[in-house]
Symmetry: C2
Subunit: 235 residues, 2 copies
DNA sequence: ATGTTTCCTTTATGCCTCTAAGCAAACTTA
DNA sequence: TAAGTTTGCTTAGAGGCATAAAGGAAACAT
């Protein structure tokens, strides 16, 4: 943190209050209630005043989303760090479980992050995208460390189209992972995150009321693909 | 179809035009552009006129969503019926592929159906819910027929919580399936539909540009769990 | 002490949903 | 066929939203 004058400090406080108010409205009344006007009204300000803090509704939404990403990231890192640095298996599983725990204890927030249909072109330097990448990296780094320390078996050959596509992504990661390992990582990611999204969006309510055991089953299926011992890190 | 007077016919035509206009706006300008006013304007009517056809914005959205479900259902049934009634394996795979094909050739529509956050309490007799159940049944019926004709191995024991939850759902289906089979069905469904949703919502754009081979890989992994021969029904 | 920056206000435009009142054409019925 | 009723639309209007513009007052810098 850079030292700031009083002016700057007050401004930061107001910014934080705006984001907190937006979050409260989201939780209490749903995403549609998070309007510039409503947030300002809650704070005892006039609507247009908020334009001194955010360029518009979309930027406010992006800032709040970034907050959620950061909070989720912190929670996951804390859960991960309850295990020693070398225990990549338990650390990864703890990270996954922390993600789901946060998601279901913060449904409106998680739904807001996930189910935001691509509203506009996403600039890669926006706070939202930066925080999103940090979130992604919690998994990626632990995964890469796991691969470093104890590589697991990967498919001998990949579908040519998949290989081609993943080559660019793998290179952009700069983690020295082989394409095949990245493919395994993404397969697991799709299963885990896909399940979570369906749960939070209520797409499975027709059959389930509590998806915790389904999530654990998913972890149990995924673990051996990474050479992990699920039973050794059961919940 | 019941015989109708001229009056009723004109009304049906206007209803159809409204839904078609709403769909066109969705495709051309995104979901936010589908407003009562915009639809009416496009049709050369005044806004409030639409309230003679739909009780409000939400009902219009529901009607359009039901249209999408019905169209998707028809496409899947047509693809399924290209295979003889007894060939449950190829019929199921064709149904899955038709679902994805429709989804990616109708991204706005599919995204609209899926990513509609639970906007209000859903009444189970609304057109949207009815059409949604028909869609669900295309998979369920073929799956039940497959089980009838050639039961596949199912897990010997289920997590007690999962078993308890699925008992109610299984009973409500009235298809005479065992709970274990329903569990296998839902596991496959979650993987397939979850992947599709992530694709359409752009959640995998960071790594993939074309998910067709990933989808096929998913089918290849799912098929043996249902006792199906993937290679015999490769694309 | 003066000028500038910052914060917030009110005002205004144009969009949205939805209600209400009213008119005219089309049907129904006596 | 004439009167009454239903239907399909209109305009008017209330209230909310995003956003732009203009202005006042306080805080800050010099």
């Amino acid at each position: 943190m850079v030292a700031q004058g009083r002016r700057a400090r007050v401004r930061q406080a107001t910014l934080a209050e705006i984001r907190a108010t937006a979050r409260r409205l989201l939780i209490e009344q749903g995403s549609a209630a998070v309007t510039i006007n409503a947030v300002a009204r809650e704070m005892g300000m006039s609507g247009p005043a908020l334009y001194h803090y955010f360029a518009g509704h979309e930027e406010l939404v992006g800032a709040v989303t970034a907050d959620f990403f950061r909070e989720l990231t912190e929670v996951m890192e804390a859960a991960r760090d309850e295990h020693p640095p070398g225990d990549h298996g338990p650390r990864l599983l703890a990270t996954c479980r922390a993600m789901r725990t946060w998601a279901i204890t913060h449904r409106p927030e998680f739904g807001w992050v996930f189910a935001s249909p691509i509203t506009s072109e996403r600039r890669p330097d926006s706070p939202r995208e930066l925080a999103g990448r940090d979130f992604e990296h919690v998994f990626l780094e632990e995964f890469a460390a796991l691969w470093e320390s104890r590589p697991f078996p990967v498919p001998a050959e990949l579908d040519p189209s998949i290989r081609r596509q993943l080559q660019a992504y793998t290179a952009s990661l700069g983690l020295g992972l082989p394409v095949e390992a990245v493919h395994v990582f993404l397969s697991c990611w799709i299963r885990l995150y896909g399940l979570l999204c369906m749960e939070v969006l209520g797409q499975l309510d027709f059959a389930y009321t509590d998806l915790e055991p389904v999530f654990e089953e998913c972890l149990r299926e995924i673990a051996p693909r990474l050479g992990l011992d699920y039973e050794a890190a059961a919940p």
